[in-house]
Subunit: 410 residues, 2 copies
């Protein structure tokens, strides 16, 4: 029976591997496990009371609209709010530049559908966001991986990779997932100029841009690109920008958005219509009602405070408990911190030990399109309170001592 | 600028035509237009008060779960509820046989992703559901169209089409959208037997199965197929069954489901994970809280009464106002009625006249994979109250008189 079905699956499905993160999350659901594996926001940040008021109001005043079919592009007031927000950063956009999606993940899938034929090249960072690889593997592209350092994408490697004429460049400039680094202003300018020069679109994924805990906000790639095209009638440049309410309101809404030139939004809308008609109108109206009137800005300030404490707690715990020879990034924002063990260490093996110590993380190789990164791991600092972070890092340090002793012996 | 983007779109996007229904809905949004075009449920059927209680309870008692990331497969109690509901019809299923989707539309897209490589054949009815064609065109299949009559798919044509070994058969057995016909019990048996014989899966799309206004409930294709495989350890047959809460709770939730053999659900889950991680947990919890405890069954009984009146109002108005030589189906349930004009008539042209008379419908050719059906149209009877139906059909009759006079003259 099983075989009968399997022979029917499309060629491209062979290229989709089952998610490591997903299988991991199942392993770590025992309550005694301290998990740094997920990318979960802290439930303490969910504005529950505000959601209650919003849901009550929407169902009282707008039930006919909230529960009915809606436009594929999204709820107009929500698109207007996002357009206004985007315009604050010097980008000339109207609601026609905005598409509402089921989280950024759907935007990634739609971009794959829109741009990728089998064998096309996609330029990604090394490491890169696992969910993007999962979305695109179904379309059978080949990946060009450009290594990151503490200032983000390395420009000489980028120039080299662009020679293969990728369909697009995928970049996470702010508080990179998983690497925790931020693309420097100088390199942002270089990236935008190179992409423009060669006519290659940039997909800028920015889920955490609002969550900066130190230093100055840097202009987005779209802002820099818009600056190169002054005088147009609305943004028609080279960048497709993705963001989400998952980290600022709640991920359980599944609500993200795309900002792009109007003709790209039209094509993405066509693709989304075939994919699911539209995103839940009920969720869109509730999110709009929750976010409006300046609430979201104010709420994000509170999230920043909470997550800054947790980042600092993790950095301090790492200093205390991690052995010599292990390096980690110092993220200026976001949810993740990236750890590099000495060459020869294997974090997939480490995870087996760690789970016995009741602590979990994501082995870094999952984030490498080319299968490297065996000695790296991603740690999430947003989910657990400081004292749990301290205890979890202590346990992980113990597992590390054990594992690195093994490496030394080999 | 425009050209630069267009050359980058994937080959397959060339195969996706913009939705006629969508463009139409824009035209008919003037309040004076009586629209039989959409597939909209009546907002009178939305259980608003029940939703209010459910949203309040979910946010009070389960906010941490409702607003957080969730499992790709869906909210376990909702999957259990659907499994229990499915089991009532004699199908041995557990929650592992269920995947929650963003409406049935997402299930159609995921099935395309899972099964279709470019050039594969898909067997569809003639006419068939437009949304299915929109979902699958992105995967570049070829369609085999099997004509319907008043008892559904014509079996000799089905046998003929199966010789081309389609990847799957797509069937809407109950109250067909757009054709309004129901597959007879005898033909259901024949279809299931033929599919089994040749090892070709059936995708059974059943959004309206609960909305029957006369006659006896007929067993689903999955029920008949399950009957052929008695004694197994849970359904592992040949049918993939789709349904939705869009017509029984509210379409604005975007909540549907797939029932299928466990290994097919696992593959669909992998595809969904790449597509959008999971369906809104908030929406799933609210829908579960709304539907549970027998409410949904009771609510569906009320919807049946309301829609039966509207169907009867439309049938009576058609008798009164439509000219001789025009035929229509007598749907035993669902939302739609299908009208066939004399050969040579063109309902796309008729629509231009109708819109001037402030009435709208969907020209039938949109529902034909092979581009035929120019003399057909789909009418929705669920959205408008009886007196509006009467007035709309009167206007449409006038437009028809005019159009058919033209045909006669040519």
């Amino acid at each position: 029976m099983s075989t009968r079905w399997e022979r029917l699956y499309a060629q491209r499905m062979q290229h989709m591997s089952s998610s490591i993160i997903r299988e991991l999350l199942k392993l770590t659901q025992r309550p005694e496990v301290i998990s740094f594996a997920g990318g979960l926001p802290s439930p303490d940040t969910f504005p529950v009371e505000k959601f209650q008021q919003a849901a009550e109001k929407v169902l009282r005043e707008q039930s006919g609209q909230a529960l009915q079919y809606g436009a594929t592009e999204g709820y107009p007031p929500l698109r207007e709010m996002i357009a206004r927000h985007t315009a604050r950063y010097g980008i000339q956009v109207t609601p026609d530049h905005i598409l509402i999606t089921n989280g950024s993940q759907q935007a990634l899938d739609l971009l794959g559908k829109l741009f990728l034929d089998p064998g096309d090249h996609v330029l990604v960072e090394k490491p890169t966001y696992l969910g993007a690889l999962q979305a695109w593997n179904a379309y059978q592209p080949r990946y060009l991986s450009v290594p990151l350092d503490d200032e983000g994408m390395q420009i000489p490697a980028l120039e080299q990779a662009l020679k293969a004429k990728p369909k697009f460049i995928y970049a996470l400039p702010n508080f990179h997932n998983p690497a925790g680094v931020t693309l420097s202003l100088e390199r942002r300018g270089q990236l935008v100029a190179l992409a423009e020069e060669q006519g290659i679109p940039i997909v800028e994924d920015d889920p955490y841009g609002q969550l900066r805990y130190e230093g100055e906000h840097l202009p987005s790639l779209m802002t820099l690109d818009a600056g190169r095209h002054v005088g147009g009638k609305g943004y028609a440049g080279n960048v497709i920008y993705l963001s989400t309410f998952s980290k600022t309101l709640a991920p359980g809404l599944r609500l993200g958005w795309v900002v792009a030139p109007v003709n790209v939004i039209q094509q993405l809308t066509r693709a989304k219509q075939g994919a699911d008609l539209h995103t839940s109108t009920f969720v869109q109206l509730v999110a709009y009602e929750t976010a409006r009137g300046g609430f979201l800005d104010e709420h994000v300030r509170q999230i920043r405070q909470l997550y800054k404490q947790r980042r600092d707690a993790m950095l301090a715990a790492l200093e205390r408990h991690f052995p010599k020879g292990v390096r980690w990034t110092h993220p200026a924002g976001g949810l993740f911190l990236w750890v590099t063990l000495p060459e020869g260490a294997d974090t997939a093996e480490l995870l087996q030990v760690a789970i016995k110590e009741d602590v979990a993380f994501v082995p870094g190789y999952a984030f490498f399109a080319d299968g490297s990164g065996k000695n790296t791991m991603r740690l999430n600092f947003s989910y657990s309170p400081p004292q749990i972070i301290e205890e979890g890092i202590r346990r992980l340090g113990r597992a590390l001592d054990h594992a690195l002793a093994q490496v030394a012996v080999h």
